[in-house]
């Protein structure tokens, strides 16, 4: 595989970037396969619009999607079969390609929305990696969310919240079911972002329950707002996952979607988190 990034106006071979002492430094050409984090039966999905073999123009998955056309299904590459389906004609985003040749799905902020089947997981740890460009102008939306965010402790969301660009939250048990999570104000982040949100609800301190929230490789927790309660709850439980809306009926996202990895399972080593972050950065063209 050939990887390249734009640096100083020129295309150069991409180097895998790893964290050393808190800094991103060049490493070796990446060979990381995100499917390896599902090797022990973990639940979740890998959605990769850059892989045309995973994109379908119909819900029967018989007609391959084509550039500039709409997409009805994104196959899950994790091996778990949690495909993302855009059922109604008006729910289907358009497949486009940016100036660097990267594929993305454009969500219109009106009716484009997908969902998976119900994903069964009793895990109290989860990791989400999302590559997307927000062009909502600050309107609240849901980019990626576990269905039933208001009702179920342990559910979570990543999106745009109340004139703040990018926020991530997990609903905790106890104390009136408040949240642990983070907001990142619009001026602090670009429109195209790789967001990493890792949650461990077995932790007893609020600040560690959502223990990683990176936006483009930068720890965004310094912008924390609304960190509340604690209490061990199962993440996910028995929920389907929505992409681009809340339950297909509200908070529709205006976004360009470059990919996502969701994993319900034990906390990942920091090195693996960094590798997944770099994988998503390559998909979006973001330099971490």
């Amino acid at each position: 595989m050939s990887w390249a990034v734009r640096e100083g106006g020129a295309w150069v071979p991409a180097m895998k970037r790893v964290r050393l002492g808190g800094e991103w430094v060049p490493g070796v050409v990446p060979t990381f396969d995100p499917a390896t984090v599902f090797a022990n039966g973990e639940q979740g999905f890998i959605l990769d619009p850059s892989d045309m073999s995973t994109l379908w123009a119909d819900t029967a998955r018989e007609t391959p999607a084509t550039l500039t056309g709409t997409v009805a299904v994104i196959d899950d590459k994790s091996g778990r079969g949690n495909h993302m389906t855009f059922s109604a004609t008006a729910a289907r985003p358009q497949l486009l390609q940016d100036g660097t040749g990267r594929n993305f799905l454009r969500f219109n902020g009106v009716s484009n929305a997908g969902s998976t089947q119900e994903i069964l997981s009793a895990s109290k740890q989860a990791q989400m990696f999302l590559g997307a460009r927000d062009f909502s102008g600050g309107d609240s939306n849901c980019m990626l969310e576990a269905r039933g965010f208001f009702e179920a402790p342990g559910s979570w969301r990543i999106g745009v919240s109340s004139n703040r660009r990018y926020s991530a939250s997990v609903r905790m048990a106890g104390n009136n079911n408040r949240y642990a999570g983070y907001n990142s104000p619009i001026p602090a982040t670009p429109d195209l972002a790789v967001q990493v949100f890792c949650v461990d609800t077995t932790q007893t301190a609020n600040e560690t329950a959502a223990f990683i929230y990176n936006v483009n490789g930068v720890d965004a927790r310094a912008e924390a707002a609304g960190i509340f309660t604690t209490g061990a709850v199962a993440i996910g439980g028995n929920a389907l996952i929505d992409l681009g809306s809340r339950a297909g009926s509200s908070l529709f996202a205006e976004m360009d979607f470059y990919g996502a990895v969701l994993r319900y399972g034990p906390n990942l080593p920091a090195q693996t988190v960094s590798e997944l972050e770099a994988y998503m950065a390559e998909k979006t063209g973001v330099t971490l």
């Binding site: 004609t89 358009q94 009106v110 297909g248």
Partner: protein, 138 residues
């Protein structure tokens, strides 16, 4: 293939009929969920459901012609009477004259603009919504 974006909006009383029309003009029972939440409002605070999708040019004529039950609907799940009511309520704009404004009892459709631009041209704006509800937080 040339495609055109069509965006439509209607008030709550027309949603059920509009979804029958959506099925009649589209490809399967999934299209019964074309118009969902009342996420848009006009200047008077009246709320509307909206949807935006791509069509081939021939669809514009189809949408305004006599309705025929689509071939896929062998089970006759579409309420063609309801679809007919929605079609009768259709105010379709394809570039001539001022864009019709969203209003109760009318299914306003606009061709040739991106979804949110079309809704703005209809006089609609998003209903403010906090993803975390009244509890606030991140």
């Amino acid at each position: 293939m040339t495609r055109i974006v069509v965006t439509a909006a209607c008030d709550a009383d027309l949603v059920a009929d509009a979804n029958q029309l959506a099925m009649a003009l589209a490809f399967g029972p999934e299209d019964a969920r074309t118009y969902t939440g009342l996420n848009w409002q006009d200047g008077a605070g009246r709320t509307y459901a909206a949807a935006s999708w791509q069509v081939v040019p021939a669809w514009l004529d189809l949408a305004q012609s006599s309705l025929v039950r689509p071939a896929w609907d062998v089970g006759q799940i579409i309420d063609m009477d309801a679809a007919g009511r929605a079609q009768a309520a259709l105010d379709f704009w394809a570039g001539d004259g001022p864009v019709p404004q969203a209003r109760p009892g009318v299914l306003v459709a606009v061709a040739g603009m991106d979804g949110r631009d079309a809704l703005a041209a209809m006089g609609l704006e998003p209903v403010p919504m906090d993803p975390l509800g009244e509890e606030g937080g991140a």
